[in-house]
């Protein structure tokens, strides 16, 4: 394959946005969970809740900082690499993203400062309120991003004038049914991510026989939350499938691995697709289930990829597999969360080391599910940037050369790998040292807008520092 400016720009966008999404999806869930913890602490007065809160606040800080840094690049990238899209859809995407900056970023920044350093200065109810405000900020940010992306998936409320998308009905854009199933789907995914990271950390401490009371809270709350949220996520996932089925039939056929129109349609569980021959090899399929999932009917006709000209089809293999990886991650998480919750109920979880190991090792699963879910949505939308209206190939900056695009891709890869390596190292160090590190009071001169300053080594007690150094 030729390394064209188009391919390189797409790779760059995919790389920078994949890198970025890891952090917000983690922090959205974590902010909500911190709010719950703080409310529980106020309600029950149990110090362990406070201990767990302070511990996760630090980790939140590092992840939040990395999310901010990698987010700046996104604000520029539409203009640098996709100037035709930026020019055409600016009247719609620009206002949506400016609402994100205005409503979310400043809310997060100001209340996050109170969260980190304001506890001695504000009454407890106001501290809880600030926690809620940070959670609201991250949620608003997610909302505007989903509004923006949902409009690209299913463009509504616009007319074309002078080669630009001119909004003529903002209510349609903001209350698009597509947005209101995708936004909860993303929000739930973030909550599940938070829950699993918390549960995995709890399991890790139990396995290492450390921080027993905090680990107990983490393991319990994490697994319980996940056990409740995962079935709800299945429901919203199904609603997402419905919108794809109704508005993006080509993407739906690609996800389903359905090459030819069928009536009634079968459901392909797994197969090795062969785009050349337009068929699947080694396919395992269940008859009629495809119609049932697609249209809630035993007899409906479901369209296949070959109904559409090849130039309108997405690279089918990617959405086909990424969708299955996402669902597979969901299934494993469901098994872990349900079994774990059952064992907690039976008071046997601390003795079931296998399940503790499974819980610990499953922390990457929600991240993988989020990334593959996004790949399904975004690669499945191809070859369009604005679905059925603007092709990706036509959206790129026309004079961008492959050399320039390669330069920027390499620079972003190097810089991101560099800061990511150090960032994860610091989070790892925090996790290793555990909640006991918080026995040190925050210093008076510590400052907001410097979330990562809370992980400074010297703030930990000597014993913890030795533990962190692996002695």
């Amino acid at each position: 394959m030729d390394l064209t400016a188009l391919l390189l720009s797409r790779l760059q966008f995919a790389f920078t946005v994949s890198f970025h999404i890891i952090f917000p999806s983690f922090t959205i869930g974590l902010a909500a969970w911190l709010t719950v913890l703080e409310a529980l602490h106020l309600w029950t007065g149990r110090p362990a809740y406070r201990q767990v809160f302070e511990f996760w606040l630090k980790i939140f800080g590092v992840a939040f900082g990395l999310g901010v840094v990698s987010g700046i690049v996104m604000a520029f990238q539409f203009g640098t690499n996709w100037s035709v899209l930026a020019r055409m859809s600016g009247p719609i995407q620009g206002p949506l993203l400016s609402y994100e900056t205005f409503t979310a970023f400043f809310l997060e920044a100001s209340f996050f400062g109170i969260l980190l350093f304001g506890r001695p200065r504000v009454p407890p109810w106001f501290y809880l309120f600030s926690t809620g405000m940070v959670a609201l900020g991250t949620t608003l940010s997610a909302f505007w991003i989903m509004a923006n992306n949902s409009w690209m998936q299913v463009p509504v409320g616009y007319v074309m004038e002078n080669g630009a998308f001119v909004p003529d009905d903002w209510l349609k854009i903001l209350f698009s049914p597509v947005l209101w199933v995708r936004f909860p789907h993303m929000l739930l995914a973030s909550y599940i991510t938070g829950a699993f990271c918390v549960a995995a950390t709890g399991a890790w401490y139990v396995l290492r026989r450390e921080f027993a009371s905090e680990a107990r809270i983490m393991l319990r709350m994490g697994l319980y939350f996940a056990a409740v949220l995962l079935p709800v996520q299945l429901f919203f996932g199904h609603l997402n499938g419905d919108y794809v089925h109704d508005y993006q039939p080509i993407k739906f056929a690609a996800i389903e691995g359905r090459w030819h129109t069928q009536q009634p349609a079968s459901e392909v569980l797994i197969a090795i697709p062969d785009p050349e021959a337009e068929t699947n090899h080694h396919q395992i399929a269940i008859p009629v289930l495809g119609s049932l999932i697609g249209s809630m009917s035993f007899t409906s006709k479901e369209v296949g990829l070959t109904d559409f000209p090849p130039q309108d089809r997405p690279p089918m293999i990617i959405p086909f597999y990424t969708f299955r990886i996402m669902v597979g991650c969901w299934l494993i998480m469901l098994l872990v969360a349900w079994t774990g919750s059952y064992l907690i109920y039976k008071e046997r979880i601390e003795q079931t080391r296998l399940l503790l190991w499974l819980t610990f090792l499953s922390f990457p699963l929600p991240f993988i599910a989020i990334l593959t879910g996004w790949y399904t949505a975004e690669v499945g939308r191809q070859p369009w940037t604005v679905y059925r209206v603007l092709r990706t190939a036509d959206a790129m900056t026309p004079f961008l050369t492959a050399r320039t695009a390669l330069t920027s891709l390499v620079v972003f890869c190097v810089v991101y790998s560099f800061i990511f390596a150090f960032g994860t190292y610091y989070i790892h160090r925090l996790l290793r040292s555990g909640p006991a590190g918080l026995l040190v009071e925050p210093s008076a001169a510590a400052i907001p807008n410097r979330p990562m300053s809370v992980v400074d080594e010297h703030r930990l007690t000597p014993a913890v520092r030795r533990a962190a150094a692996g002695e």
């Binding site: 620009g94 100001s110 630009a164 320039t404 410097r450």
Partner: protein, 328 residues
């Protein structure tokens, strides 16, 4: 409605230049010393607020996209490699605030990233302004200059000029916020930086005259424009007095006034063009439905809140930074 968003954009850019200007300037000064106590004092003077300062850049970016999409699309794609360098610089200097304190052995990497990133970001910003003054090669609303169409000796000159300007602003902030050694050094540097900036301004003006740039015609056509440079001159005189009398507060505000005067001069000499002299404000403006949607929510209600947050943040961290009370 269009004018409202021009005003918001102007305020956001000016706030960015003034606020991130001084912390980029301190980043440049940071590279000039090896002494850890000084370096630490410099960082402490900006650490609580730099992140908020930088957010104004994002505000300017998204307002540009929402309200003037043509300008956003044209400029950002034209300045591709320049912006790439600026972003890399801003990322490296941003993480340096945190990462440098995590390590002794590798601190030189983050310190280098902090000083280098600040210098590169300041230089690029000056260079883009220079390229805009000189005029980008734009035919029928489309950029035709290629990868380095913005690169010229004039643009480089402006890049150096803004580095000097930001450094001056940074030195004045240090005078305002710090004590002892750092404050003394800043006081000593300010006269040199001011003279350097003055020399730069003279060279730029001479160059503009010699090259017969269109901006010069604007100045001659619109003599009232000289009101802005006059404000700048008055501010410069007051700067000199306050430096001589060692008054810590005023220098920063005087230099800020000089920056505001320069910003006003440029903005009005570009008027009514948004990209001088090819795309006007009216041509660039988004449709009314977009501007109104932004106005009735973020413009009218959220923007004042953002200003309020900024004021609160600065008033919480007002006064001198005391090294003893610091947490390192």
């Amino acid at each position: 409605m269009v004018m409202f968003w021009v005003a918001i954009l102007a305020v956001s850019i000016l706030l960015y230049v003034l606020l991130d200007g001084f912390d980029l300037g301190i980043g440049i000064l940071f590279g000039l010393t090896r002494d850890e106590t000084r370096r630490h004092a410099m960082l402490s003077a900006v650490a609580p607020i730099w992140d908020g300062n930088e957010t104004w850049l994002i505000v300017a970016g998204v307002v540009l996209w929402g309200a003037f999409p043509v300008v956003y699309a044209t400029l950002f794609s034209a300045f591709y490699l320049a912006l790439l360098l600026m972003l890399a610089g801003l990322i490296l200097r941003g993480v340096a605030f945190e990462y440098r304190y995590k390590t002794e052995r590798l601190r030189w990497i983050w310190d280098g990233g902090f000083a280098g990133g600040s210098l590169v970001a300041a230089f690029i910003q000056g260079m883009t302004v220079g390229a805009l003054v000189e005029g980008l090669p734009i035919v029928n609303g489309h950029y035709t200059g290629g990868e380095f169409g913005w690169f010229s000796s004039f643009a480089v000159l402006c890049g150096i000029g803004l580095c000097l300007g930001y450094t001056l602003l940074g030195a004045c902030w240090l005078v305002k916020k710090s004590e002892g050694d750092v404050r003394e050094t800043a006081y000593r540097l300010i006269p040199y930086l001011s003279v350097g900036l003055l020399v730069f301004l003279v060279i730029v003006f001479a160059y503009a005259l010699a090259e017969n740039l269109r901006v010069v015609h604007r100045w001659l056509e619109r003599p009232y424009l000289f009101a802005f440079p006059s404000i700048g001159v008055v501010a410069a005189i007051m700067l000199a007095f306050s430096i001589r009398n060692r008054r810590d507060g005023p220098p920063f505000y005087m230099v800020a006034l000089i920056f505001a005067a320069a910003f006003g001069t440029l903005a009005i000499s570009f008027w009514p063009y948004m990209i001088p002299f090819s795309i006007t404000i009216e041509e660039a403006a988004a449709p009314h439905s977009s501007l109104a949607f932004m106005f009735w929510g973020e413009g009218l209600f959220v923007f004042p809140l953002m200003l309020l947050y900024t004021v609160i943040s600065y008033s919480v961290f007002r006064g001198k930074v005391r090294p003893t009370a610091d947490h390192y």
